[in-house]
């Protein structure tokens, strides 16, 4: 208990020391870097993952390929991939971002696909039967009904990207992981634990953001069914 209090005091001291809030080594700059890496990768991954997920889910073609990609992707050690990219392409941001995008696509792809494919065939039949065009079936019925899973996919991808962007500090990139990696190499525990705390806070904010997003964009009609099953 005492130890926990000590640790909290340590983190509080580190966070409140003014040098953490200025310059290239300060929290604002590192946070901005982290958010830029994560946000950009998530954006591109979403564009690609959603497009293909909706396409495959709606047409049913390529389902096996999507499932295989998702299975294989889960087995990839993200840390290894990022380090390999830096070893092969040198220390620059773009190749690492490409790797982050590649890692974030599968969860978005598979969940979007599952969400659309999981739409009750009766509902889809009724949508066509009342005279919706294929586009209207997708946009007005399949996407809203798949939203819970689409958001889950985006959330998993976001968690993955934030975590991998942290690890990317090891081969030399910026972002919040810098505090941890630099702290480790300098045996500066205060830096390590302070950086970790900021990372945890960021993860919590991401989590809260997606919970809030779910509340706003998912129809209450779907939540009813979710609570019933």
């Amino acid at each position: 208990m005492n130890d926990l209090l000590n640790q909290i005091r340590l983190v509080a001291d580190w966070l409140t020391s003014s040098k953490q809030w200025h310059g290239d080594d300060g929290i604002p700059h590192r946070l901005l870097e982290h958010l830029t890496y994560s946000g950009l990768s998530l954006l591109f991954a979403a564009l690609i993952g959603l497009t293909f997920g909706l396409l495959v889910g709606h047409t049913g073609r390529g389902a096996f390929a999507v499932a295989s990609v998702a299975n294989l992707a889960r087995a990839v050690p993200t840390f290894g991939l990022v380090v390999l990219v830096v070893t092969l392409a040198g220390l620059s941001t773009t190749p690492v971002l490409v790797a982050l995008v590649a890692l974030a696509i599968p969860p978005i792809l598979i969940n979007t696909f599952e969400g659309v494919r999981g739409v009750d065939p009766d509902t889809r039949d009724a949508a066509r039967g009342v005279g919706m065009t294929e586009w209207e079936v997708l946009v007005r019925v399949e996407v809203p009904m798949a939203l819970p899973l689409i958001l889950l996919g985006l959330r998993v991808a976001a968690i993955q990207v934030v975590a991998t962007a942290t690890v990317a500090a090891y081969p030399g990139l910026g972002g919040l992981g810098r505090f941890i990696v630099d702290g480790l190499s300098r045996n500066d525990y205060e830096l390590v634990i302070g950086g970790s705390t900021v990372v945890v806070v960021l993860a919590l904010v991401v989590q809260i953001l997606f919970t809030a997003l779910r509340r706003f964009v998912v129809s209450p009609g779907l939540r009813v069914s979710a609570s019933r099953t």
């Binding site: 087995a75 990839v76 840390f79 390999l84 070893t87 690890v167 970790s196 993860a203």
Partner: protein, 221 residues
């Protein structure tokens, strides 16, 4: 990386075969023990959540929050208490498995058809016997589906532990970066993926052995 260096030098792999095998063993231990611990926690916790539904949302929220914390940060938080040991890697990995295993145990129990549950009660199974002897076996396929996801993710995550010196095959990832030599990194990635996929395949096999009734259903469908 110097120009002309190939992606993989086969002779390096041949020279390090014995050492690679050792690290593979460590990697498996670091990746799979957390899944076992995760199951030991998740099965009773899932049963409780199934029994008292109000318990489920808060448990799930906590599990999801733990899952969302990047592994590197979580390792560092535990370093203070458990040092640079294997435990520091395995405790966070165990916590991560909960976000998959607990929901799957709950869903698996929910998948038990109501008539089966009632029949068990009618035949005189007490609540605990009914869960252990009737409901859990029926939930096995859904639980194993969760174990597969947890095991594969866990095995691929172990490598990050190398930043506190406990990463199994992750050793070759940091080593390759230090030496500016891609062969160990590629080897580690491929081995980790193979371990994950082999574990996945074994779990599928285990499920078929554990639940012969669902196997028949699959072939009939």
């Amino acid at each position: 990386m110097s120009d002309g260096e190939p992606l993989v030098r086969w002779d390096w792999i041949a020279d390090h075969a014995g050492e690679l095998a050792d690290y593979t063993g460590v990697h498996l231990r670091l990746g799979l023990l957390p899944v076992v611990f995760g199951l030991i926690i998740s099965v009773p916790l899932g049963i409780l959540c199934h029994r008292w539904r109000w318990l489920y949302p808060p448990v799930l929220t906590v599990a999801n929050i733990l899952y969302s914390i990047p592994s590197l940060a979580l390792f560092m938080i535990f370093v203070r208490y458990t040092g640079l040991t294997e435990r520091t890697v395995m405790i966070p990995l165990t916590l991560y498995t909960l976000s998959v295993l607990v929901p799957n145990v709950v869903d698996g129990l929910a998948s038990v058809p109501e008539p089966v549950r009632l029949a068990a009660t009618a035949m005189g199974f007490g609540p605990i016997r009914s869960v252990v002897q009737v409901e859990l076996p029926i939930a096995v396929p859904v639980v194993i589906a969760g174990v597969r996801v947890a095991a594969v993710s866990s095995i691929s995550l172990v490598a990050v532990g190398q930043l506190i010196g406990q990463g199994g095959l992750g050793y070759y990832i940091t080593r390759g970066l230090q030496l500016d030599f891609p062969t160990p990194i590629v080897t580690a990635i491929v081995l980790i993926m193979l371990l994950a996929l082999a574990t996945d395949a074994l779990l599928v096999l285990a499920q078929r052995l554990l639940t012969p009734w669902s196997r028949n259903k699959v072939t009939a469908a």
